[in-house]
Amino acid sequence: MEQRIMLYARFERFWHWSQTVLVTVMLITGFEIHGAYALLGFEQAAAVHSFTAWLLIGLWVFAWFWHLTTGEWKQYKPSAPDRIVAMVRYYGFEIFQGKAHPFHREFSCKLNPLQCMAYLLLHVAISPIIWVSGLAYLFYKSWSTIEAMSWLSLGTVALIHTAAAYLMLAFVIVHLYLAMTMDERPFSSLRAMVTGYEKDTGEQPGSSK
């Protein structure tokens, strides 16, 4: 019998999709500012990029607040090594043999161990690096004349910011692939991210806790 299980709370869905929009816009405008192509023109691209940066930082503050107050931050607690190995084994071999996914998604544990590690890396490393270097980029004039800051140049800030942006884009590529193609039923993750619910097939997962 089919039953619907609640996977993503309203805020999580809002957070995910507003991040999707903002990150997409920022990647497009960011790489234009970097000089990869001409689309909006530098002036527009820079204006849109700075504006969306503030929105994303605002969203980030909300998200941290939400995760800390709801305890949802625990979703990102790294798993035991053997669980990660199980995921690597699954993606690397078992998936080709048609074996079942080693973990089952449920509200209290919606991320698989590898996913959890990737998101943790995204939220505590890549994103903060982008935000901090981005703010340094925006406020260049304020710190560049301070003697104590002479070790840092705009070039270095740009270097860090751009490097993190490449990682972000790589994340998006892999994330899209995994999110869109790994479902037992096509696009059920996408549907879950929109409605919040996933239809549970009732099949027993390979291993649970």
Partner: protein
């Protein structure tokens, strides 16, 4: 549904209509206090009508006679002028310790004033500087009229050492127009504050012709349009030169020898000790862009001069400026023995037997360099390195220099004669009726011997031609904001500042290795995803369609 429409939409529409109607009515009503009626004729700033002075109702024979009359009332004027670079043609640069000024520097136009006095000093604010013995203390020799007359009919004759022609005379000699002698009485009575035309009489024609030298000062600046110069716009702000080049006691602010690369005094207000306004910042401050503009525009003032963006091109007024002057080809005659002159379609000389080859350009994109205001000249006493391009002047500054800004420059390049054995600049004696003058005998050795002798140097007898470059900061022809450079001019792959060292310019600067690494990571991710997906597809097919 109908109820909703009746309850909300109709009242809303009605109120909208009322508001629109009221607003439209307000637009039609004439504004109180019509502008045209308010505008009164601007009172003249002078309190004296010079046509009424007895002293000026004379038939003056010469310029110095007029000066004597001026000094009768303005008794300190000549003494003041004697202190200025306009008069001395000497400038003591305290920053570098170099003695500069037209008397001392060498350039790559007509090279040097020494031994060519009577020709060069047609742009001196005095009368009679025809040789090195000119009396720099004589008060009557100051030319008041060249700056202060307002009829536009007073002209110093090109070869008369600063005097106008007192008899009808032809220029250019033998084949030009006859210059009538000026009506000195009328001219003397016309005196007033200098106009753009007064200053332009010399400064528009530096280097021997309209627009030749500066490129951002030429006769189009007499009555410029708003597009050409937003401040001097004849139909708009209509600034005179001294609106910015503030003058007091005949000392005029703003020197090209000691330029301020950045001005941190803030907006100059009365009471401040230094009232000079010859910088953009002295009126606009260092955060000139308005609140509603992108805040990052003002960040640029940290490293950019205002003119870098606001003078997108120079020589925009329909006149060309000289960019290249090669003296080494001068002196050619055609098969019939006739001296060669070649002109382009617009009538600009591209070759002249007296001067060599030229190139001219209009609407020129400046070259950009770091500049902190310090300029070091190569002077006659300096040995030059003839194995490479010799800088007439070197501009100092770098990214790390707090005072330095990125500035636009006209770089005048050319080839000019030098003493090949002593390795010093040549001073060619060009002008004169004597046999040593180059424009008489076309003999470089004679000309260089005479020229160097005039400056106290002995010529080795061996001449050559060396390539030189001369850096001229571009400061005029400030375009209206809408025509200033857009971001993409610099923030793009082949942006205007691509050759500048030390500065990271988003959109233009790159860390090549980062981009290679970044693209590699992207390709690797994409590749991994494609290979993985394809592998799954193949595997599921082998298993017989079971996903």
């Amino acid at each position: 549904m109908t109820k909703i429409i009746l309850q909300y939409c109709i009242p809303l529409l009605l109120s909208l209509a009322v508001v629109t109607a009221t607003y439209a009515k307000a637009e039609e009503e004439p504004a109180t206090g019509q502008l045209e009626e308010d505008v009164k004729e601007v009172p003249k700033t002078s309190t004296a009508d010079h046509t009424l002075f007895k002293e000026l109702q004379k038939d003056f024979k010469t310029g110095p006679e007029v000066t004597k009359a001026c000094l009768g009332c303005h008794n300190a004027a000549s003494k003041q002028l004697h202190q200025t670079t306009h008069w001395t043609w000497a400038y003591d640069n305290e920053l570098t310790g170099q003695m500069l000024g037209k008397k001392n520097v060498v350039n790559n136009f007509c090279v040097a004033t020494a031994s060519n006095w009577a020709r060069c000093t047609s742009c001196h604010i005095g009368y009679g500087w025809k040789d090195a013995k000119f009396d720099l203390k004589a008060e009557d020799n100051v030319d008041c009229l060249v700056c202060h007359e307002t009829t536009g009919t007073y002209k110093k004759f090109p070869t008369a050492a600063g005097h106008p022609n007192y008899e009808p005379k032809m220029w250019p000699p033998k084949k030009g127009k006859v210059w009538p002698p000026p009506d000195l009485k009328k001219i003397a009575q016309s005196v007033g504050a200098p106009t753009r035309e007064s200053c332009g009489a010399c400064h528009f024609y530096g280097g021997g012709g309209d627009g030749v030298k500066h490129g951002h000062l030429d006769s189009s600046m007499k009555n410029p349009s708003k597009e050409l110069d937003v401040h001097m716009d004849a139909a708009g702000l209509n600034f005179s030169c001294q609106t910015c080049h503030t003058a007091g006691g005949h000392e005029i602010a703003g020197s090209k020898y000691a330029l301020k690369a950045s001005d941190d005094r803030g907006i100059v207000i009365p009471g401040q000790p230094d009232q000079a306004r010859a910088s953009c910042e002295s009126c606009h401050g260092s955060a000139p862009h308005p609140e509603e503009a992108d805040p990052h525009l003002n960040d640029h003032t940290l490293k950019l001069a205002c003119v870098t963006c606001h003078v997108p091109e120079y020589a925009r007024g329909g006149r060309k400026t000289k960019m290249w002057w090669d003296w080494s080809t001068a002196g050619k005659k055609d098969e019939k023995g006739k001296p060669v002159v070649i002109k382009d379609e617009q009538g600009y000389d591209t070759y002249h037997f007296k001067k060599g080859d030229f190139t001219w350009e209009a609407n020129v994109v400046p070259e950009y360099y770091w500049f902190d205001g310090e300029i070091e000249y190569s002077l006659l006493e300096d040995k030059i390195d003839d194995t490479s391009v010799v800088p007439i002047n070197k501009i100092k500054g770098s990214y790390d220099d707090e005072k330095a800004r990125i500035w636009p420059f006209k770089v005048m390049r050319g080839r000019q004669p030098y003493d090949a054995e002593n390795k010093i600049f040549g001073v060619p004696h060009l002008f004169g009726k004597d046999d040593e003058a180059y424009w008489k005998s076309f003999d470089w050795d004679k000309a260089l011997r005479a020229g160097l002798r005039e400056r106290g140097y002995e010529y080795s007898g061996e001449h050559g031609f060396v390539e030189t470059e001369y850096y001229w900061p571009v400061t005029h022809m400030v375009a209206p904001a809408k025509n200033s450079l857009t971001c993409d001019a610099c923030h793009s792959e082949n942006g205007r500042l691509q050759n500048l060292a030390g500065v990271y310019i988003p959109g233009q600067s790159r860390f090549a290795w980062l981009d290679i690494l970044g693209v590699f990571i992207l390709i690797a991710s994409l590749g991994a995803v494609v290979v993985h997906g394809f592998g799954r597809y193949l595997a599921s097919r082998t298993r017989g369609g079971k996903s």
